[in-house]
C-alpha cells in the first residue's frame, strides 16, 4: 500500500505542519511502513466482534456539578509563547 504526494501534503496541512520537499520525500517510506502494519492488523477476522471503545471495562465515572477553583489568569497564561495581561495571543487569524 502506498501513499501519494498529495495525500502527504494534505495531511501536513491538516496538522498545520510545513515540510521541505526532501522531508516530504522521506515520508513515502515511513507512511508505507505504517500502512503495511495496519494492513496486517486488518487481516484479522473480526466478524461478530463488537468494537471496543475502552480497555478496562470502567463506565461513567461522573463528577457532580460543583465548582472548583480555577487557575489565576497569570498562571493560565504563564506558558503561552505570546500573551498580554488577559488574553492568549496568536498570529492573526484571517476571517
Amino acid at each position: 500500500m502506498s501513499v501519494s504526494r498529495e495525500e502527504i501534503e494534505r495531511i501536513a496541512h491538516l496538522s498545520r505542519l510545513e515540510f521541505s520537499e526532501e522531508e516530504k520525500d522521506s515520508f513515502f517510506g515511513t507512511f508505507a511502513h505504517v500502512l503495511e502494519y495496519v494492513d496486517t492488523i486488518n487481516k484479522v477476522d473480526l466478524a461478530g466482534v463488537e468494537p471496543m471503545a475502552s480497555v478496562n471495562g470502567a463506565e461513567n465515572g461522573f463528577r457532580e456539578d460543583e465548582e472548583r477553583p480555577s487557575l489565576t489568569t497569570k498562571e493560565a497564561l504563564a506558558n503561552a509563547p505570546k500573551h498580554n495581561e488577559t488574553f492568549f495571543k496568536v498570529p492573526r487569524v484571517l476571517e
Binding site: 491538516l14 471503545a53 475502552s54 493560565a76 495571543k89 496568536v90
Partner: protein
C-alpha cells in the same frame, strides 16, 4: 418551456449551551461575561496529562432534551475526539460523540401559522464541549479567551424534513421553547447560547433525490436564520434555472450585505479523523435512571398551550402568547387559581390583562414576569372587582397604574382612589332622570335624529356621578328612557 418548480429541503444543526454551573469535564465556572481567562484550568486549557471527568448534570440535561424530543436514549454511548486545529481549541481536538450519540431518532412537533402541525425528525442529540473565543478586531494579533472552552453543549441534528425558511424559524423557536422550559439552556441566539447551522438544498417538485446542499453558517439571530435560508433557497433556484449547478460548499451569512457568500475552501479543509476518546470511559444511562429523569420532566410549552385551550377555554392566540415562556404561563395560572369565581369569562379577562397591561409594562421596563412588582393574586383581584362591576374598566386601569407604584392590594387602592363604581338602581335612575331634565335641548335634538348626542348624554351622567356611576347601567337606562320618549 415552463419553468420547473423547486422545493427546498432543509436540515438544521443546533448547538445549545447547557446551563450547568461548571464545565463538562472540569470544575471551572461557566458564568457568562466574566473577565477573560479567569475560568480556566489545566483540563480546559488542554495541558498535557490533565484528564477530563464527565459532569453528571450535563448528561442529565441532555437526557431531558432527548425525552422532550421523543428520542431514544442510548444505554451505552461513547466519546470521540474530533480533530482540527484552531487557536480557540487548545487540545487540538474537541471531545464529542460520533458513532453512538446519547439520543437518537426523535421528533419535534411544530404548530405553523395556519395552525396545522408538522413533525420534524431528530436524527441525533449528542453531548460535546464548546471551544473558546477568538477576538480578531481589537489587536494586531488574534486574542484568545478560553473561559468558554469546555462549556457543555448539546448538538441537535434534524432530519432534512424542513421545507421552508419559515418552518426553519418555527423549528428553532420550538427548540428554544423546549430548552428554556426544561431550564437546560438560556436559548439566547444573540449571546450564542443557542447557535444554528443550516443545510439547504432544492429539488424539482416531485423528485425524490435530494439536490446538492450547501451549509450556511454565521446566523446569530432567529430573524437571520430565516433570512439567510430564504436567500440561499432563492440563490440556488436561480442558479439552477439559469443552467448552473449548486456547488457543495460552506457559505457564511453576511448580515451587512444580506447575502450568503462562500467561505474560502481552505477554511473547510477539514478531515476530523474521529477516533474514540481514550481518556473517558463509556457512558451508561440505565433505563432506571432515565425513568427518574422522565419523572422530573415539566409540562412543555405545546402541551401547556393545548391544556390552556381546553381547561381555560382560551383562544388559540391567547394560549400561545401566555405559554411562550414558562414564567408567564405560571403567572397566568396562579392568577386564575386566585379568582373568586372560576368562570371562563374571568379566565379570559385575566388573559387580556396579562397580554395587554402586564406585558406592556414588562416590555417598557425590559424586565421578566418574575421581576414584575404586582403579584398574580392582585391581578385576579382586579379582574374580580371588574367582573363584579365594582369598578369600571377605566377604574381598573387607574388602580393598576397605582398598584405598580404603591404595591398595595387592589381593594385598598380602589378605596383610596374612590374608584368603587355605583350600580345601585335608584342612584342610576335619579342620575339619568336629572340629566334628561337638565339637557332638554340635547334630548330634543337627539329625538330629531342627531344620534351622536347619545354619547354626550352618557358623558353628562358620568360627569354628574363623578365617574362612579356604572356606565353600562347608565347607558342601558338612558337608552330605554329615550326610546320611550320617541314613542
Amino acid at each position: 418551456m415552463a419553468e420547473i418548480a423547486y422545493e427546498p429541503v432543509i436540515g438544521l444543526e443546533v448547538h445549545a449551551q447547557l446551563k450547568t454551573k461548571t464545565k463538562i469535564f472540569c470544575g471551572c465556572s461557566t458564568t457568562y461575561g466574566s473577565v477573560p481567562n479567569t475560568q480556566v484550568c489545566p483540563v480546559c486549557l488542554g495541558h498535557p496529562g490533565a484528564l477530563p471527568v464527565l459532569n453528571k448534570e450535563a448528561v442529565r440535561f441532555a437526557v431531558k432534551m432527548g425525552i422532550a424530543t421523543h428520542s431514544s436514549i442510548r444505554e451505552l454511548s461513547t466519546f470521540s475526539r474530533k480533530n482540527y486545529f484552531y487557536p480557540d481549541l487548545p487540545k487540538g481536538y474537541q471531545i464529542s460523540q460520533f458513532e453512538d450519540p446519547l439520543c437518537y431518532n426523535g421528533h419535534i412537533e411544530l404548530e405553523l401559522e395556519d395552525q396545522s402541525t408538522k413533525k420534524i425528525g431528530i436524527t441525533r442529540i449528542h453531548i460535546e464541549e464548546d471551544a473558546g473565543k477568538s477576538i480578531h478586531d481589537i489587536d494586531i494579533d488574534t486574542l484568545v479567551d478560553l473561559n468558554r472552552s469546555g462549556v457543555a453543549l448539546i448538538e441537535i441534528v434534524s432530519e432534512p424534513d424542513i421545507r421552508s425558511a419559515r418552518e426553519a424559524w418555527h423549528y428553532l423557536q420550538q427548540i428554544k421553547q423546549i430548552v428554556t422550559y426544561l431550564g437546560i439552556c438560556d436559548g439566547n441566539m444573540e449571546e450564542g447560547s443557542l447557535r444554528c447551522d443550516a443545510n439547504v438544498s432544492v429539488r424539482p417538485v416531485g423528485q425524490e433525490q435530494f439536490g446538492t446542499k450547501t451549509e450556511v453558517k454565521n446566523m446569530n439571530s432567529f430573524r437571520n436564520v430565516e433570512k439567510a435560508i430564504e436567500f440561499e433557497i432563492n440563490r440556488q433556484i436561480e442558479l439552477l434555472q439559469s443552467g448552473g449547478e449548486v456547488a457543495h460548499e460552506t457559505r457564511m451569512w453576511d448580515g451587512n450585505k444580506q447575502i450568503t457568500r462562500v467561505m474560502r475552501s481552505k477554511e473547510m479543509a477539514h478531515d476530523y479523523s474521529y477516533f474514540p476518546e481514550p481518556d473517558l470511559p463509556p457512558l451508561r444511562c440505565t433505563e432506571e435512571w432515565v425513568d427518574t429523569v422522565r419523572k422530573s420532566m415539566p409540562e412543555l410549552g405545546l402541551d401547556k398551550k393545548r391544556r390552556f385551550i381546553s381547561e381555560y377555554k382560551l383562544p388559540d392566540y391567547d394560549a400561545g402568547v401566555l405559554t411562550q415562556d414558562k414564567a408567564t404561563a405560571d403567572y397566568y395560572e396562579q392568577a386564575c387559581n386566585a379568582l373568586k369565581e372560576q368562570t371562563h369569562d374571568r379566565y379570559k379577562l385575566v388573559s387580556n390583562w396579562i397580554m395587554t397591561e402586564v406585558m406592556r409594562v414588562l416590555s417598557e421596563k425590559k424586565i421578566s414576569v418574575e421581576e414584575f412588582a404586582i403579584p398574580a393574586e392582585h391581578i385576579a383581584e382586579v379582574v374580580d372587582l371588574y367582573a363584579a362591576e365594582s369598578i369600571s374598566s377605566a377604574g381598573a386601569k387607574e388602580a393598576f397604574a397605582d398598584m405598580l407604584e404603591s404595591n398595595e392590594a387592589p381593594q385598598l387602592v380602589v378605596n383610596r382612589l374612590g374608584l368603587l363604581q355605583v350600580s345601585d338602581e335608584s342612584f342610576i335612575e335619579e342620575l339619568v332622570d336629572a340629566v334628561l331634565s337638565e339637557n332638554q335641548d340635547a334630548v330634543a335634538k337627539f329625538l330629531d335624529g342627531k344620534d351622536k348626542l347619545f354619547g354626550f348624554l352618557v358623558g353628562q351622567a358620568m360627569k354628574q356621578s363623578q365617574g362612579k356611576g356604572n356606565p353600562k347601567k347608565i347607558t342601558a337606562l338612558l337608552r330605554s328612557r329615550l326610546e320611550a320618549l320617541k314613542g
